[in-house]
Amino acid sequence: MTAADDTTARLIERFAGERPGDSVGWIAAARRTAAEQAAQAGLPTTRLEDWKYTSIKPIAKRDFARSDARQATAAADAIEALRIPGLDAHRLVFVNGHFAAALSDRTGAGDRVRVRNLAGVFAEDAAALRDRFTAIAPSDFSGFTALNTAFCDDGAFIELAAETRAERPIELLFVSTRQDEPVAAHPRVIVTAGHHAEATVIEHYVGLDDAQNLTNAVTEVSLDPGARMTHYRIQRESRKGFHVGSVHVRQADDSRYESHNVQIGGQLARTDINTGLDAEGAETLFNGLYLANGRQHVDTHTRINHNKPYTRSEEAYRGILDGHARGVFNGRVYVAPHAQKIEAYQSNDNLLLSGKAEIDTKPELEIYADDVVCSHGATVGQLDANALFYLRSRGVDPDTARGLLLYAFAEAAIDRMTLPALREWLQGFVIEELPHGERVREFV
């Protein structure tokens, strides 16, 4: 096959090799097709409207090896240190894209809440994936998505039986570790929630020791009628690492999908979150927070498709950019013809702390119905002088006052999250990331 660009050709060559599921005809075929799609599409360029502000050249000019399962180990204490305090969760740990059974804890997950690693399912129970794998995430979504389908080694398969509530959250910890040469991991997460099923899933991406790897993740979620899923996606790749991730959701009637997307790490990070509100009563919340400094580049693209009447979406993204950091936010809301009586609210608020930081923010509303309520707004600004004066007039020094206001800005996003342990951990985490964070601590 001939590839659209040399990089893609090289990556396809390097990632090739045996994988679980190869002996299953339809899986092998899906992978082959995806590899062809990847070759044809190539990696996205800034000539594509959706990638206009994000050049993936830093990824293209590096050579990533396939991550070796035998090297997919990490010290147990390093993994333990990544635990979210007070969070009692089923925990699956992946190192450079491979499941690390010894570091994981699936106790309590049973037949009603099945949590399995994908490689195991590929090898032993491929039939269970028949209408799941690639059902929701189109491999031609981008060259990256195609690469994931073609070369994913592992990931998670979460099945929630009808009328079942997963009592404990499910944490998927993806750790990127430093190797002799940078590696690429293509984790795949598939979640299916039956009628009125409920679960909280946390995808947690962490880079250790300045790993320079690429994480190329794809998540597919299908929600049956009345199902509810709260989905945290916490991206803390190393400052030298790369992260490309896309989430694809299909929602049946009266289902609710809540996305909390936090992006703190990576030198270049791109996240796409897409949901289809495919039946009446479906609703979604897209909540996001991104913090970037130095020369970080963080891009979020979201798409909410109101395909049917009486659907509802609420989207609020906030970002704090310092140094030479660059942020991109593109929020597309599509309202199909006849999708009357829908509600869609969107906001994107940004603080730029330095003259060199930059944000490109764009709401994109495409509305083909006439009886709808839609609103959107984007702000870009500095800290409110009046609020700063208020705190100083109470005796708070200026640096601490600034730190408090930054924290308060981020807190508005954290406040929408419902898991107390995670919220508290994130608050502490955000404080550490902020300038003068240590002084903020005594106020919260």
């Binding site: 409110d384 009046n386 208020y390 109470r394 005796g395 708070v396 924290y407 807190e411 508005a412 106020f443």
Partner: protein, 256 residues
């Protein structure tokens, strides 16, 4: 009285190109309550903010002496440490920052500046609870973020509550009465009256006379065109209420 707590002489100030204060004089002694009244745009809120150290205003002439020192050279937080407090007309919401922790940090910053040890946590909490009760705030306020989700009246009560906890020597209240119903106004007035004392001065900036039914001022000043046009006792406030601010403006015109 040897020296006034606050002495303002010939104060001129501008914001951007607009001159707002044009030669304002005022003396406030410890133990006194002063009401500063005036029509919109007379400069009364500007005066309150300049005293607290707001940066957007440029003082072009004149002086402000507070307890013998040049107030205008101090940063806002230094003024707070020195005992100056401004109750805001529009208090700011700060999500995630605990109301009581802010007060504790503010109090400790002030104590540190005065060479005192940090406040004892137990003493602080019991003091806070007692003052909350006086201001009609229930215990849930202990866990709430600064002004977040507060109604207009709750915000104003919170300002007075903060003032009571921080125990400033010079309390400046910028239109604390605006937007309050009569019950809330009474609570606010109760708090302010509680604060009256021989070592403390209170400056009430207000547009309306009704606050002064509940807080009896020792002196009333009428501001217009950036200057004190008329000073008197509380009967001046009643006269103003009766005759309206046009009366002041006419007097101003005839003396100009």
């Amino acid at each position: 009285m040897s020296e006034a707590m606050l002495k303002i002489e010939n104060l001129h100030a501008r914001v951007e190109d607009a001159e707002i204060l044009r030669g304002l004089d005022l003396e406030v002694n410890a133990g006194e309550v002063h009401a500063i009244m005036g029509p919109n745009g007379s400069g009364k809120s500007t005066l309150a903010h300049i005293l607290a150290g707001r940066g957007e205003y440029e003082v072009t002439d004149g002086s402000v002496t507070y307890k013998g020192q040049d107030l205008l050279t101090l940063e806002p937080e230094e003024r707070a440490h020195a005992g100056v407090f401004l109750a805001f007309q529009y208090p700011v919401e700060i999500p995630g920052v605990n109301n009581v922790y802010l007060l504790k940090a503010a109090l400790n910053a002030k104590r540190k500046a005065q060479g005192l040890e940090e406040v004892d946590a137990v003493d602080f909490l019991s003091d806070v609870k007692q003052k909350m009760k006086l201001m009609g705030m229930d215990d849930s306020f202990l866990n709430r973020s600064v002004n977040q989700g507060f109604s207009g009246g709750e915000k104003k009560r919170n300002e007075v509550f903060q003032m009571m906890v921080l125990e400033p020597e010079l309390c400046i209240m910028d239109e604390t009465d605006s937007g309050l119903d009569i019950d809330a106004l009474k609570v606010v007035a109760r708090g302010v009256n509680e604060m009256r004392g021989p070592d403390r001065a209170i400056v009430l900036v207000t547009h309306y006379q009704r606050l002064l039914d509940h807080i009896q001022p020792d002196h009333v000043h009428v501001l217009a065109g950036g200057r004190v046009l008329k000073s008197g006792d509380k009967s001046l406030a009643l006269e103003l209420e009766e005759k309206g601010y046009d009366w002041v403006r006419q007097e101003e015109a005839s003396t100009a």
